[in-house]
């Protein structure tokens, strides 16, 4: 199935070559979890600090159980704490 992967800031290096700006439509296995998708793209789980599925934050305990669907949008941000 296809999903849209959006990577921000330093995570953009994980986007495939066909990505436009900060996002790309990518093919992944059916019925994979949020964490399995992050692993599939070789992204460090701790680096993908903020995980946003279809515009809604997914808290860490739910990232193993939340299953992706066709045409979902998964957005990843690194941690931001400075000031």
């Amino acid at each position: 199935m296809n999903i849209t992967l959006k990577c921000f800031a330093g995570l953009k290096r994980h986007l495939p070559p066909h990505a436009k700006a900060n996002q790309a439509v990518v093919e992944v296995d059916d019925n994979i979890s949020v964490y399995q998708a992050i692993d599939y793209f070789n992204i460090d789980r701790e680096e993908a600090y903020l995980v946003i599925l279809n515009g809604v934050f997914v808290c860490p305990p739910d990232r193993d159980s939340r299953i992706l669907k066709e045409n979902d949008t998964l957005a990843l941000w690194p941690e931001v704490a400075g000031g």
Partner: protein, 254 residues
Amino acid sequence: MNDKDLLRYGRHIMLPEIDFEGQEKLLAARVLIIGVGGLGSPVALYLAASGIGQIIIADHDKVELNNLQRQIAHDENGLGQSKVSSCANRMKQINSKINIVPLDVKLSGEQLLSQVAEVDIVVDCTDNLTTRFEINQACVTHNKWLVSAAAIRWEGQISVYHCGDKDSPCYHCCYGLGAGGSKEPEQNCSTSGVVSPVVGVMGSLQAIEVIKLILSQGDSLISRVLLFDALSMQWESMQLPKNPDCPVCGHIND
């Protein structure tokens, strides 16, 4: 307000969302700004200029040369001074009519709780997660608005928290568990760098949210986080649900 006040705040007063009544609310408001570095500088200067009646600023650092690239409340004359003294001086130059309370301390424990209890809104402009968690806990304890932002490298984020509202999350709902559940990342502008105006953008947005909350105008960033990627010039909006298992705010509204 006297004639000089009407002149000073005229550009506020001509806005229908503010008017005389709104400016009086701003003049009567009490705000605590924790951290007067990159984010806290624009927050403090804009809130002083806007006529927030009482502004408490807390920071335990001294002004260093490497701060001046982005911390615009400070200048070369303030090198070596406490940041709160340097910032308060600049605020007074902008607006001598408001009450500014500088606290040259690392606010924590009972002192943090008592200061939070005294104000209407808390603005988190600190540079590390440990302090952010403690500020969040204090705001949940006293049911205060928390306007929180962060910035690093070319990125920024901002949100507003208020656990007195049903289904409203707290800062811990988003950041409390950490990715992977254990390790707490500790990156800040001192170790990772930050492009100067990014803290200005995020701090200015914090000041806007404070003003809106005091006026009860518009839609605040409650339950919503705005994320800013300056390098690609993209904004992302993220809904932040309340975590019913959150150890800080999960018990509220049971």
